[in-house]
Amino acid sequence: MSFLKPKTHIEQGDVVILYLSVNSMHAIEAVPTIVNKKGETIVHIFQTPYGSLKVENIIGVEYGSRVELSKGYAHVLQPNPELWTQTLPHRTQIIYTPDISMILHQLEVRPGAVVIESGTGSGSLSHYFLRALKPTGHLHTFDFHEARADQAREEFRRHGLGDFVTVYHRDVCNLGFTNELDGVADAVFLDLPAPDLAVPHAFKALKLSGGRFCSFSPCIEQSQRCIEVLTKLGFNEICSMEVLQQESVIKTRTLPVIDLEFLKAPKEVETNTNEDAKTKEPKELKKYLTSSNPQVLPGHTGFLTFATLPPNIPKA
């Protein structure tokens, strides 16, 4: 239930982010026992590179606290969509925070919004939609893979978000978003191999007063075909973009500074005392607070294509 609102202490059943380091975070469920593969109920022990954690011990602990592991320590954080995106079980390729943030902004999602999403995938983006639209809006999310739809539905329920979301197992390219959703959506988001096939369904699902559309696709040809259909149906403000986030690696670097001036003038042999030699040392080290890119950056995630359905377009 730890996704619904900010809370201060870990309750039984919460998903908790066990934070070990920037590159090592784990989402664990705060329950004292789990059922193993043999069907036996056993004590819930979580293994980390810094030793094991008896999960029962973190129940009741304040979020943000340090918890001891058998060979070190970690911090327990309340999950949110950012941390969840970095720790969730990948069932598909997922979209990350920089793209997601732009999607939420461009789709103008805020409390009260009705959003349609396809596909659900691993639910990374769904969690962001839900944070932004609750407690007064609703997310309708579709996936053509039955097991994924079921897993996502169960996950939203466990995360305390079940009231704000309906998960559908449905092939939207062929079957659309169901007639019940005609004209109800403020925004439609597509992450599909052939988004162009679903654009006419998005058109139907958007409100008569208009709404916003987004398609995320890795290949430019998908965006090209999508835009062709959007244009034909009367969408405007069509705009495609990429958002690429770079991390700055900040560290103090120690760098040599060499002196070459001493080479110009010959030193007199008589000045060669030990003390003098030291002051002539031509190389010193200086510290610099530096910032640089990591060796490898994300070069591409996907093209985001946004469009507006203006008000009062007849949907015949």
């Binding site: 934070y19 920037v22 340090r66 902004h105 019940e180 008569l208 958002v243 294509t305």
Partner: protein, 442 residues
């Protein structure tokens, strides 16, 4: 399920977004006499009243005066139906295209019409399509150009003579674009991708109590956060600023319900910290220093906005923060004092995030505000200057009070996607600014 859509209508006192092709502008529709200026065109706004947002209006020339830089035209606006809007290309029905531009010499004499002719044409024809048709007819080279080149020509002319405007309701998305395009410095250079990430990383939503310090973004940051907080929710925002008066234009333009507006508590940084630490203590000399300082900061930020005078509604305008000892302020609490008390109460309960966009060095400010944030909560610090964030990063890292620290920036690449002419746009914005993010620890 859908019937007649429920679209809000344009009211007096509203901020409106006027769009002419890709150009957008935020404008206050303060009275029936109000006019808006788009380049050389002056638009009388009175016919907008009670029309639904999203409507398109035709600019009809009323009179034309000689101005310093050519004619200044006064227009009335006439509501047009959707299907009056056609592609300019369809109208002109151009078909014959040259294969390439090898035979074109650009000697500036391709247009037979003189500028006086065009000016006259413009007053006679109310439709840009007619004007462009004449220009094309009188162009000696148009029909020998490539289709690509013809398109470019038509787009250029269409831009100049396009006679329709659309009136839209301000939203964070539209205002972020307008502010950044018009004068990015007024919003501290916060680009759309960065704004969207400030909202994400800060976790602001319909539940919780949030803390923002910003030294001047035309109200964009508090408006974006309040927009994410939503109507009819319980969440609150304490909005700290360094000046006497908060910049609120974007907040006012959103036209939020009163209950939602009231959940944004705007307070002066120095004043509220004093209230928080010292409660009802007697005013003393150091307040004088602080007030002087606050004025100074406000002067800085005032220079950033020519529309600043509009930014503060008379109804919400606060009395000047004047805490000099010779003022007798015992005659009942002033509004700023009430707000300080409300903010101070929330500060004692602590916040669910900390968002900062400071023109000053962020380190001291984050040190002062960090104790007001609960553990396991996101902090997001924006700066245009990476060097400052590097220092703040090092300080926070050393303090052990914040974990999962990252400094990030973004590239935003927009694409032209047209048949056979797909490529990234040739210009891109160079500065996204930098974000320092992390989570508080207990």
């Amino acid at each position: 399920m859908p019937s007649k859509p429920n679209i809000p209508s344009i009211q007096l006192g509203d901020y409106i977004v006027i769009q002419r092709q890709k150009y957008t502008k935020l404008q206050k529709f303060g009275s029936l006499d109000a006019t808006a200026t788009l380049g050389k065109e002056h638009l009388e706004l009175k016919s907008l009243l009670d029309q639904p947002y999203g409507s398109t209006f035709k600019m009809c020339v009323k009179e034309s005066k000689a101005g310093k830089r050519g004619a200044q035209r006064q227009h009335t606006l006439e509501l047009v139906s959707e299907n009056e809007l056609r592609s300019i290309r369809d109208v002109l029905n151009i078909s014959s295209s040259g294969a390439d531009n090898r035979d074109i010499s650009d000697n500036g004499e391709a247009q037979a019409l003189k500028s006086e002719d065009i000016e006259q044409l413009r007053e006679e024809c109310s439709e840009s399509s007619k004007i462009i048709e004449k220009l094309v007819e009188n162009s000696k080279t148009f029909h020998t150009r490539t289709e690509y080149s013809q398109d470019k020509y038509l787009l250029k002319k269409e831009k100049k003579y396009f006679e329709f405007v659309q009136i839209r309701q301000p939203s964070i998305r539209l205002m972020a674009d307008i502010f950044h395009r018009q004068d990015a410095e007024k919003i501290m250079g916060i680009r759309v991708d960065t704004l969207s990430q400030i909202i994400s990383y800060s976790g602001v939503c319909g539940f919780g109590s949030y803390l923002l310090y910003e030294s001047g973004t035309n109200g964009l940051l508090p408006a974006a956060m309040l927009n994410s907080i939503g109507a009819a929710t319980d969440a609150t925002l304490v909005h700290m600023h360094p000046g006497n008066v908060p910049q609120k234009q974007a907040l006012l333009a959103l036209k939020l319900p009163l209950e939602q507006q009231q959940r944004c508590i705007s307070v002066n940084l120095y004043s509220v910290l004093r209230e928080f630490y010292q409660g009802d203590r007697k005013l003393d000399v150091s307040i004088a220093t602080e007030a002087a300082d606050a004025t100074q900061t406000d002067e800085n930020s005032a220079t950033t906005s020519e529309e600043q005078t509009d930014a503060v509604e008379p109804t919400t305008k606060k009395p000047k923060l004047d805490e000099s000892p010779n003022l007798n302020n015992r005659s009942g609490p002033l509004r700023w004092q009430v707000e300080n008390k409300r903010a101070s109460a929330l500060m004692h309960e602590k916040f669910d995030n900390l968002v900062m966009a400071a023109k000053e060095h962020p380190t001291n400010i984050v040190e002062a505000l960090l104790p007001l944030v609960k553990p396991s909560r996101p902090i997001v610090i924006f700066s245009t200057c990476k060097e400052l964030l590097q220092e703040t990063y090092m300080e926070l890292k050393a303090s052990g009070k914040v974990t999962n620290l990252h400094v990030t920036s973004n590239w935003l690449r927009t694409y032209q996607i047209l048949p056979n002419r797909t490529h990234p746009e040739v210009n891109m914005s160079g500065n996204s600014g930098y974000l320092l993010t992390g989570y508080t620890l207990s």
